[in-house]
Subunit: 250 residues, 2 copies
DNA sequence: CGTACCCTTGATTAATCTCAAACGTAGTGG
DNA sequence: CCACTACGTTTGAGATTAATCAAGGGTACG
């Protein structure tokens, strides 16, 4: 896959196009999220063709991938890092509608304008496709469309989970459910089960759970005090899995 | 379209198959939600073929269309009435994840098991397709799949709106935003703008907005006291559109 | 070393929930 | 026809959760 770096090398916004076609194949084959992403819908020979439509981009933390209401120039297939997706109210209140992890696709809707903003929580790598190019490719690949539809409806299910959480769970249940959900999502990427990496800030977690920073912090402290978790740098370690699960109030 | 009644006629669960093929065409052509529903993706000759895959069912209020975690036997295309979609927590807390109006499709995900429950708020009419039959038809109609994907991503956008509402809006803003959203959805079906029909109970509205019945009632009363709306049987009438919109806190 | 930022903790306030009761309406049966 | 019941809605008073306001502690980075 052609490779572009948007932050390293010779200047803050330099673009450096890297590998040849042969290299591209190697990169896709080595892709850590190969089996999870949209790409899993494609045959090896299609994947080769597909990969040539994109560029691999590396972005630093806080970089914007998608800006709400702006024209959707690109869609992304995240390969490393974590991205927050959010909407803002006019007075500045923010609701994070999701966190994207490696393997996640940004821009499923393929709409002309973005319906949310997205920026990197920590440095990210992604396959970036011009939306128009992707749309043309999609038009002649029904099985890719089917995969996209699967991903969309899965997202919709997650969104409904989140509605239950936001509307009907207490602060403690929200935090517990968040940790469990994050553990489950990470475990599909790497095997580490009891250590949950949380690269995002408490503020981000609060804006995802419909809570203030202070409340998130208090609930984390409470879970730690109750020996359910230990707070470690950039995450938590689960001490009592059963207890944490029971606190979610399924 | 073949017609089945699940509540009228000779017994509580009687099924009465009605019209012939010729009649079916007439019914689809007359369908009030023809231009809104999935059907809008189909050519007239396809529509004829498509319609023969379904039965028109009529269900009384409170009837269950979809039961969470059960096998998804049917998918529905709502033609009349209102349906609430919801999830339950094990202790009985309920979150309504959406209301389906005429033209809406239930079962977009096409998954083997239902991820939510759905029941009629008031008597409904719907085109009912056996899931397997629909899936087979879908497999050979990429433009239908495309339409389904469009509908799914639109649902996802609505779900994200709802997350903002649930996570970051006050009780008054929630109720105001609910009324505005409902007015907008009705206006796509019939032209009546200032009268908003609300066939669902206050409890339903509360379970949709993440509020208690009492709070919904109080906010409705407040809006009425402030001369923004008038509460009428089975709905509200908007008195001050601008004010109501400003209360949503875009 | 200082500054900035994030996280935590404490005290107080405010929004919403809970509990309780009264009201209205629709349907039922005497 | 009316009384009675059932159910949904409204209103009030008090309890509770989470927000707000305020301050201190830790860590990273220049």
């Amino acid at each position: 896959m052609a490779r572009v770096s948007a932050h390293d090398g010779d200047g803050p916004h330099s673009l450096r196009v890297g590998c040849s076609h042969a290299t591209c194949e190697t990169i896709c084959a080595d892709c850590p999220v190969r089996g999870l992403a949209v790409c899993s819908a494609l045959e090896p020979e299609e994947l080769d063709e597909f990969s040539r439509l994109s560029q691999t981009v590396h972005l630093p933390g806080k970089a914007t991938l998608i800006a709400q209401d702006e024209e959707a120039e690109y869609i992304f297939n995240l390969t490393a890092g974590v991205v927050r997706l959010y909407r803002l109210l006019s007075d500045g209140r923010r609701q994070i509608v999701g966190f994207a992890l490696p393997g996640d696709f940004l821009g499923l809707a393929m709409t002309k304008r973005n319906t949310f903003s997205a920026d990197a929580v920590a440095p990210v790598a992604a396959c970036r496709f011009p939306r128009e190019v992707f749309a043309r490719y999609l038009a002649e690949k029904p099985h890719l469309l089917r995969r996209l539809h699967e991903l969309s409806t899965h997202e919709l299910t997650l969104a409904q989970d989140q509605m239950v959480l936001l509307g009907r769970r207490t602060a403690e249940e929200k935090v517990a459910a968040f940790l469990i959900a994050f553990r489950d999502r990470w475990s599909r990427i790497n095997q580490a089960h009891l250590h949950i990496p949380l690269p995002m800030s408490r503020q981000d977690i609060g804006d995802f759970l419909g809570l203030t920073v202070e409340t998130v912090s208090r609930m984390m402290t409470k879970l730690a005090r109750d020996k359910v978790i230990v707070i470690v740098p950039d995450g938590v370690r689960i001490l009592d899995e059963k207890k944490l699960e029971s606190l979610c109030a399924g």
